[in-house]
């Protein structure tokens, strides 16, 4: 792609294709390519070899990574509420995050807040078992807010370090389901003022431009603090997070790279842009 003597139209076309197929979205790509075209016409960018590095730096500027959000002094338990559309990897990511905290010797409680989907509670219980975390659960069909409330109460009573609340997958366009999510958030705050301390939105790296709409609407509904991008072990590159970071400035906290308990990494912006194109 960048083996030419000078930056010509063909080079820019190849660049455009590389970025669009990485799911950056045509609007973001056009803006980036226009900036390049500007620099080329002003002779600020001449060598094709410099092109790749320049672009990566430009994209890297936009990405927001965040080191672990630290619980302020005296805040116990640290409550994380996990949200996102159906099938993106919320429950699995909760297992992985819980495992991390467990490795640090922390006491973790999981809330089986998906009271709707078949075997969702059983799925989280298996994770709880695997990582040594207590799972607070009610019956299938019960009120998810009540489960979240009980879990935070249990967290306080048992002096847990972290409580992670699983929620049912839901499409961001379903008004009543988004209202339910707001209620879960409110009720968590009733159990512990200031909680949830972190609302983590899980996005699937195979998702296209719809991820931007997901991020916007979940952010509007419950306020998203951090993002986890899953399934980066496939061939999708998750370029949608560039537009999301650009527009909403939400930091990417974790990436999921597999189905096992260890398959979670803190987000590394440089590694991400290196794999992008």
């Amino acid at each position: 792609l960048f083996g030419k003597k000078e930056i010509d139209a063909e080079t820019l076309d190849e660049l455009e294709e590389a970025l669009v197929t990485a799911d950056l979205g045509v609007t973001t790509v056009m803006r980036l390519v226009d900036e390049i075209r500007e620099k080329v016409s002003r002779k600020e960018l001449v060598r094709p070899e410099a092109l790749r590095e320049h672009l990566k730096a430009a994209i890297r500027e936009i990405l927001v990574a965040e080191e672990a959000r630290q619980a302020p002094e005296g805040v116990r338990p640290w409550v994380i509420m996990v949200v996102g559309v159906n099938g993106v990897g919320k429950t699995t990511t909760i297992g992985k995050i819980g495992a991390r905290f467990r490795r640090e010797g922390k006491r973790v409680i999981l809330a089986a807040g998906d009271t709707f989907r078949a075997a969702a509670i059983e799925q989280l219980e298996i994770w709880g078992d695997r990582i040594g975390a207590q799972v607070v659960r009610h019956q299938q069909g019960s009120d998810p807010a009540a489960v979240a409330f009980d879990a935070v109460e249990a967290g306080k009573a048992r002096d847990a370090d972290v409580v992670i609340v699983d929620t049912a997958g839901r499409l961001h366009t379903k008004r009543n389901l988004m209202e339910e999510l707001k209620k879960v958030r409110r009720v968590i705050g009733k159990a512990l003022p200031g909680a949830p301390h972190e609302v983590l939105l899980v996005l699937d790296a195979t998702t296209g431009q719809n991820a931007v709409s997901q991020a916007r609407l979940f952010h509007e509904a419950v306020g998203v603090d951090t993002i986890a991008l899953t399934k980066l072990d496939g061939t999708a590159r998750g370029g949608v997070i560039v537009a999301i970071c650009d527009e909403l400035k939400i930091p990417i906290r974790y990436i999921g790279i597999g189905e096992g308990v260890e398959d979670l990494r803190p987000f590394d912006a440089q590694a991400f842009v290196d794999a992008l194109f």
């Binding site: 990897g89 989907r117 075997a119 998702t207 296209g208 496939g234």
Partner: protein, 293 residues
Amino acid sequence: SLSEKLSGVFRSLRGKGRLGEKDIQAALREVRLALLEADVHYRVVRRFVEAVRERAQGQEVMRSLTPAQTVIKIVHDELVRMMGEHVAPLDVAGKPPVPVMLVGLQGSGKTTTAGKLALHLKRRAGRDPYLVPADVYRPAAIDQLQKVASDVGVAAYPSRPDQDPVEICRAALEEARKGGYDTVIVDTAGRLHVDEELMDELRRLKELLEPREILLVADAMTGQDAVNVAKAFDEAVGITGVVLTKADGDARGGAALSIQAVTQRPIKLVGVGEKLDALEVFHPERMASRILG
């Protein structure tokens, strides 16, 4: 919307009887942007735009339509043609029990779709299906399908996670024959198309089951990667059809066009909700309008 953008493009043209080259060029640029925003694959868009250009070249502006509407009509018709070219119903012909195998990436909706399909066959085709949980990896996957089975009043094979999926299918086929079921719906584990071992497992499952249908279950919000996934699954086991899931959201669904373009296989069914009755037959017209936005 695309029609507004195209009206803008053609606003400067007046009283033209034919679509000239410059008009088409400007219009096609808008079409291209709309399709890319809709997640249609970069290369599929390029081919599609070329096909539209050929159709539009020298096209008469129809009496009742504006130039913008004429282009939209050509684009829409071409989309419908591509989406509908291979439309075909679910194929469950053959000596019972007829096997149907569901495959796809993690989280795309296979287990839920297995239940929906069983209900669909029961209600709309008067069939007697048997569900087979062949996912021994995901925590509580077998429980999930068994719960779904009981929700739709369909029998399911009592798989256990310590069993081998090929052995499960072998035993399940036997149970289905004994029980007189006419259709066997196999739910497989989600897997990456680049996972050699699991793609090999899929080949072995196909070999044993000899499925009448191998349906790729694909998420309507999939982006550019749809082309890689569809191609890989098709090359590995051969897809006979596609189920597009989560179409009840606001994803434009360009993945549908990309998958069609690269596999030439029909989209047979569409998942339109989390409930087990939320399964529809695919409508090319509706999908085309949705992709155009």
